[in-house]
Each structure stands twice: as C-alpha cells, then as structure tokens.
C-alpha cells in the first residue's frame, strides 16, 4: 500500500512533471493566464493522461513487446494519444456540451503536450505494472493541474502589479515559473524518509 502512496506523492510533488521534470511547458505558459481556463485545462489533461497511460500500457504489452517492436514505441504512443484526444473531444462535444465548453479549445491542445507522451514512456522505463501505470499517470496529471492552477493564480495577481515595463508578460511569467520550480525542488527533501 505504501508503495502506491509513494508513487502518488512522488508524481504529484517530488517529481512534478512540470516543475521538476520540465515537461508540458507549452500549456503551462500558454493556458495559465486565467484561473478558470487553468482549471479546464487541468481537468482535460487529467482525463486524457489517465486514459493514455492505460492505453499505451496495453499497446506496449500486447502489440509491441510480444513482437520485439519496442523501437516503435514513440511513434505508436503519439498516434494513440492523438487518436484518444480526438475521440474524447468528439464524445464530449456530443454528450456534454457544457463540459466541452469548459474544456473548449484546450482538448486538442493536449495532443501537443509532451507530458502526455512523457508519462507513458516513463512508465515503461520504470517498469510499472498496469495499476501502477494508471496511478502514476493520474498522479502526474494531478501534479500538472495543481501546478497549473497555482501558477494561474499567481499570474492573475501579477497582472495587477507594477511590473517594470520590460518585464511585463512572458518575462515575469518565466521568472515566476522559475521561482515555483525552485520551491518544488524543495520537495526532493521528502526522499530522505522514503
């Protein structure tokens, strides 16, 4: 049981995909201007990432590994993720227009999110089993959402601040992200008690 807990805490805080692994930076910078959109993006990513880790585990173990085709992993994972994203978007648009409005344009953006590709690849590298893979995927996604929402909250506030002209916009956002990253590095100290 503690093993699973370590996977969750490790993925959410200690090895946060965005701030420690530096994956998925485009949505992190791009969709963090408003708190509401950050929530939407976080929710969409969490959903897709969890499904994608499960699907890629199945593909890896059923289609690729038995035939010794591990070298096609990246290619097949990308295709699968793209298809899942498209499928999810269509289903949500039809079944729940409200949710679709909330997630809106962020769903297709997830296709290009490197964290969504990175997490299944990390699963393989860590030799996780199916449950662990799903857990790791979901926890990574929660970590991503957490950081995204925190960052959006900070940016909303920074917008009202007297930022020097040349620092306005992306520059101050980068500085903020850097500081957040430093702060999250602090969670590495949890390692000691592992």
């Amino acid at each position: 049981m503690t093993h699973y807990l370590f996977i969750i805490i490790g993925a959410v805080l200690v090895n946060n995909v965005v701030l420690v692994k530096i994956l998925g930076l485009c949505p992190f910078m791009g969709v963090s201007k408003k708190l509401e959109t950050a929530f939407g993006m976080g929710a969409a990513t969490t959903f897709v990432l969890t499904v994608a880790t499960g699907a890629s585990y199945v593909i890896d173990h059923v289609l690729l590994a038995p035939f010794g085709l591990e070298y096609l992993r990246t290619l097949s994972f990308i295709v699968t993720i793209a298809a899942i994203v498209q499928l999810t978007e269509m289903v949500i648009q039809k079944t729940s227009p409200l949710l679709h409005q909330v997630l809106g344009i962020y769903l297709p953006l997830i296709t290009t999110n490197c964290a969504v590709l990175g997490v299944p690849l990390l699963n393989v590298a860590n030799k996780y089993n199916f449950v662990e893979s799903l857990l790791f995927g979901a926890a990574s996604a929660i970590g991503f959402s957490l950081v995204l929402v925190l960052f959006a909250g900070i940016r909303e506030r920074v917008e009202g601040a007297d930022v020097p002209v040349y620092f306005r916009g992306v520059a101050i956002a980068m500085v903020t992200a850097g500081l957040m990253s430093l702060a999250f590095m602090g969670f590495a100290g949890l390692d000691k008690y592992q």
Binding site: E156, R157, G160
Partner: protein
C-alpha cells in the same frame, strides 16, 4: 435592558461634533435665488410641472413623481419661476441637472395645507401622499420612503428601527433635531409603525449624544408610546442601516435580501419627522436641517430651504479666510461640492468648510503591503485589499467575485490604510465601470433582439409578397381560361346598370348617406382614440402640442369648408 449585539470592524475617528451643537437650530434667511434640482431622490426623474415666468406658492408641486419609485419636488417658497434649465448639481461630477430656478417674492405664501388623519386612510393612499410630499430618506441615501413602507408578504415585520446613529464626524443635524423636535420624530415613527404593522419600535442613538437620548425618551414617555430608546456604543459606522440593525436586533441582512424579508426596516429620524409634517400638517418636504461646521467662525445647524445655493448658506457661518473647499456629507463619505453655485438638496445633511489645516493634503499613495488592516475594520467583512488589487488592474470581474457591491463606501478602509491608499475611490471607480458595462451590454442585447425581429419581419414580408404575386398570376390565368363564361355575366351587369339608371335620384341619396355615415364613423373613431403618450409631459412639451393643434385648427376648418363647397357645387 435590551441585549445589544456587535458588528464587525468599524473605526473611531475624532467626532468633532461639539462646536455645532452649542446653538439651537437657526432658521436660515430667504436667499435671493433658489435652485431646486428636480432629481433629488433615487429612482425616476420627476417631470417639471411649471415653466418660466409662472408664479408659484410655497409647497406647490413643481416636479411630479413619474413612477412608483420616484419622489415629488416642491417649491420651497413663493415666488416667480425664472427658468427651468440645467444647473450645476450637488454631485461629485459637477455636471448640470434639470433644475427649477425660483426668485422668492419674500411673502412665503403657502398653498392650502390639509392636515390628514392617516388612521382613517388606506395604507396605499398614505404611501401615495408620502411620495407626493417628497418624503425621502434624509440620512443621505435619499431613497423614496414610501417604497420602504411595505412589509414583506411572508415575513411579519418584527422591528422598526429609527436611526439616530449619526456616526459621521462633524455631523450633528440629527442630534439637534432629536433634541429640539423629538415629539415630531416620535409621531412620525408612529406613522411608520402603523403602516408596517411593526411589533416593536427601536430608536438607536449613539451614546455620545446623551441629550438626544434623554429628549427622545421624554418625548416617547409624553406621547405614551412603547418605543425603546437605546444608546448604542459609539463606533463608526454604527449609523449605517445594516450596522444598526445588527447592533439592535442581531439580524444580519444578507446581500441577496432586503431588510423587510428579515422582518426589520430602518428609517432615519429626520425622515420620520418630515413624514409626520407631511401627513399631519400637509407640509411637503421643503427644508431640512443642515450642519454647517468645520473651518467657520460660527458652526451651527440651520433649518434651510432646499435649493439654497451653497454661497448663501455658507455665508451664515462666516467661513474663515483660509477656507478652500466645502464638503457635502461627512469627512468619511462626503464629497467636495463642485462650486458655490451648487444648491443644497435633500441629501445634504452637512456642509464642512475645509482648509489645508483641517484636512491636510493626502499623503502620497504607497504600495499595498497586504497588512490586512482594511479587512479588520471593514464593517461588511469584505477584503478591501483584494478588491483594491483587482480594481487597480481593471479586472472588474474579479472585484465582483470579492463582492464589491456589498461595499457601502463607508471609508473605514481608507481611514486605517497605512499606505494612504484611497481605497474607496478605487471601489467607486470599479462600481461605476461595472454599471456602465452592464448598461452597454443591455443595450447591445436589446439592439440584437430588435435586429433579429426586423430580419424576421423582412423575410415574412418577402414571403407574403411572393405569395400574393403568385396568387394574382393564378387568378389572371383563370380569367383567361374562361372568357366564354363572362359573356353571361356582362348581360346581367347590363340589367343592373339599367336598374341604377331607372332610379338615379334614389341611388345618389343612398350613396351620399353612406359617405356621411362613414365620415361620421371615422370622426367618432378619431375622437375615441386617446393619444397614449401624453401623460406626464413637461410644460414645454404640452405647450408645443398646443401650438401645433392651434396651427392645425384653421387648416382643418379650411378643408372642411372646401369639402362643403365641393359637395354643394356637386349638388348644383
């Protein structure tokens, strides 16, 4: 002794009230000119009912309430109307508003006043009288009182609160009114109680006004009422309606509700007094008590006519030479009067002469250090530093999320801010921006609806026209198809023509009779139709209509003459 409650927050500024209560209420002399703005209350703008050159009597209606939520305006004295025009208003903008300018004749001749026994009248009628007497909340909010005098349908009215809090520094107009005219206030409160059917009446007075408390207690005893006169702890803004309700009853009125829904209603003491004058003496609201204090030689309360220009009023107090501005209202919530020509209105409770010494220029605004002092003193438990942050960044959606519209602009936050940030100004700015956006949005929505309706109509008309054309074409084709049948028809037609010829005189008489009948019908129809938009017109508009009618009359007669001549010619 009643259990008192506390409201959160609040501050204790220096009260500075003593100088202006040393002397009794003075009756201000008649100014050479009165400028009475028509829009002196919340709600609809009253329409002017007089025009330049007209003579008016004291108490004559000069602006009629134009809807339920509106309040009438009256001539404060007898005299001649010089003009109905735009004049500078007692408003922070300094923009003009439609006002009636009256030159007093010095006789101060009243209209006929009819005292009424309100107990014999329908409550609805009493409310109408209050509206047409111009009774509004004189605490400064000028909300039409009649509109507050209805209990909620489902909740019985538990407490009626008479607000003698008067927590603003410098201001003593309610204090002195309670000292000198307590009986009128108690009687007015009785009217309110009977209209609201309130079970209890609580008079809340800050405990820094012991004379007022004593006077009110004496008046209540003398009139044999069972009102409770309660001294409440002095703390700004204890005189705010929601705060006083909280202190006296422990009820907190949520933002989504109005106080009657909580079984409580609150009126200012001066409002109760004017309501009694209006009902029992037939005197509309023509004057009010205004405190003149601050940087003047003789601070005092004056009973002053509404519409008195600021210039004439401040002369009564002999302002000191270094006076550089005049504030209307208290130092916490008031604003600077736009000029000496601006008149005193129903909302004017206090005029403070300011000088650089009395109100030193504000220290420069420093950055917010998020110390939270403003949140501690906010009587509405808001977070002013958050609202300020987003108002400053013009992120108005966020300010609304922090409930900026619950802010009563009491100024406690600005008062305690160690960075000297004019917080209230930011909130006012954000509020008026939000309102203006709302207005624009509503206009855009209405325009869209009209555009869509118009498009729909266009399409329908096009379809109808096409259908008509098609039908006409079909009919034509049908006529062409059956030329043979028409021959017989022509024959029958011939016979009818012959019949007409046989009795030519008869037919002509019938025709004439039908024409006359039709004209008569049309005339009756015209007369029975009442123009719908002629109610509540201004004098100028009515005059214009009369002129147009006068111009049309000879033309109409002419055409009638012509018609007569033609018909007689035809007869010949």
């Amino acid at each position: 002794m009643l259990q008192l409650f506390k409201f959160k927050g609040g501050v204790k500024p220096d009260s500075n009230k003593t100088p202006s209560v040393q002397m009794p209420i003075g009756i201000a002399p008649l100014p050479p000119l009165l400028i009475v703005p028509l829009h002196q209350s919340i709600g609809g703008k009253p329409n002017p009912l007089v025009e330049a050159g007209e003579r008016v009597l004291k108490g004559q209606l000069i602006g009629g309430a134009d809807q339920w939520l509106s309040s009438a305006v009256h001539a404060p004295t007898s005299g001649t109307v010089l003009a109905v025009e735009e004049r500078v208003a007692a408003h922070p903008s300094g923009l003009p508003t439609l006002s009636v300018v009256i030159e007093p004749d010095g006789r101060d001749a009243w209209i006929e006043r009819t005292p009424l026994d309100y107990t014999a009248l329908e409550p609805e009628r009493v409310r109408e009288i209050l509206r047409d007497s111009g009774v509004v909340g004189l605490g400064g909010a000028v909300f039409p009182s009649h509109a507050k005098l209805a209990a909620a349908k489902s909740v019985p009215m538990e407490e009626l609160i008479i607000n003698g809090g008067e927590c603003e520094p410098f201001m003593t107009c309610d204090d002195i009114l309670m000292r000198e005219r307590a009986e009128g206030i108690v009687r007015g409160s009785g009217i309110f109680r009977d209209l609201l059917k309130a079970r209890r009446v609580l008079v809340g007075i800050e405990d820094n006004k012991p004379e007022a408390v004593a006077a009110m207690k004496a008046a209540v005893e003398k009139l044999g009422e069972n009102f409770e006169v309660i001294a409440v702890p002095t703390r700004y803004p204890a005189g705010g309606a929601k705060q006083l309700i909280r202190v006296l009853t422990g009820k907190e009125v949520p933002a989504s509700k109005r106080s009657p829904e909580m079984g409580v209603q609150c009126f200012n003491v001066a409002t109760a007094y004017t309501a009694w004058r209006a009902i029992a003496h037939g005197e509309p609201v023509l004057s009010r008590i205004v405190t003149l204090t601050g940087n003047v030689e003789q601070p005092r309360n004056w009973d002053v006519l509404l519409g008195t220009p600021l210039r004439d009023f401040v002369a009564l107090g002999k302002p000191k030479s270094d006076t550089d501005r005049y504030l209307m209202g208290g130092p916490m919530m008031g604003f600077e009067m736009p000029g000496l020509d601006a008149p005193l209105v129903k909302a004017t409770n206090c005029i403070i002469a300011g000088s650089p010494k009395l109100f030193p220029p504000l220290a420069p605004e420093m950055p917010c250090i998020r110390c939270g002092a403003c949140a501690e003193v906010c009587p509405h438990e808001l977070q002013p530093f958050e609202m300020y942050w987003f108002a400053r960044a013009r992120n108005f959606g966020k300010t609304q999320e922090y409930n900026i519209f619950d802010c009563i602009e009491c100024g406690c936050c600005s008062y305690v801010c160690p960075s000297h940030i004019p917080l209230v100004q930011y909130f006012r700015f954000a509020k008026s921006e939000i309102w203006s956006r709302e207005r624009e949005k509503n206009m855009a929505d209405a325009a869209k609806a009209r555009f869509e309706l118009r498009n729909e109509r266009d399409e329908r008309e096009k379809a109808e026209k096409a259908e008509r054309l098609a039908r006409a074409a079909a009919a034509k084709a049908a006529v062409k198809k059956a030329p043979a049948e028409s021959v017989s028809e022509v024959q029958t037609g011939d016979t009818s023509v012959a019949a007409v010829a046989a009795a030519p005189l008869d037919a002509e008489a019938v025709k004439k009779a039908t024409i006359v009948a039709a004209m008569e019908r049309a005339r009756q129809q015209r007369e029975s139709v009442q123009p719908k938009n002629t109610e509540g017109l201004t004098v100028a508009q009515r005059k214009e209509i009369a002129e147009i009618e006068a111009r049309r009359l000879p033309l109409q007669e002419l055409s009638a003459l012509n018609a007569d001549a033609q018909s007689s010619q035809r007869k010949k």
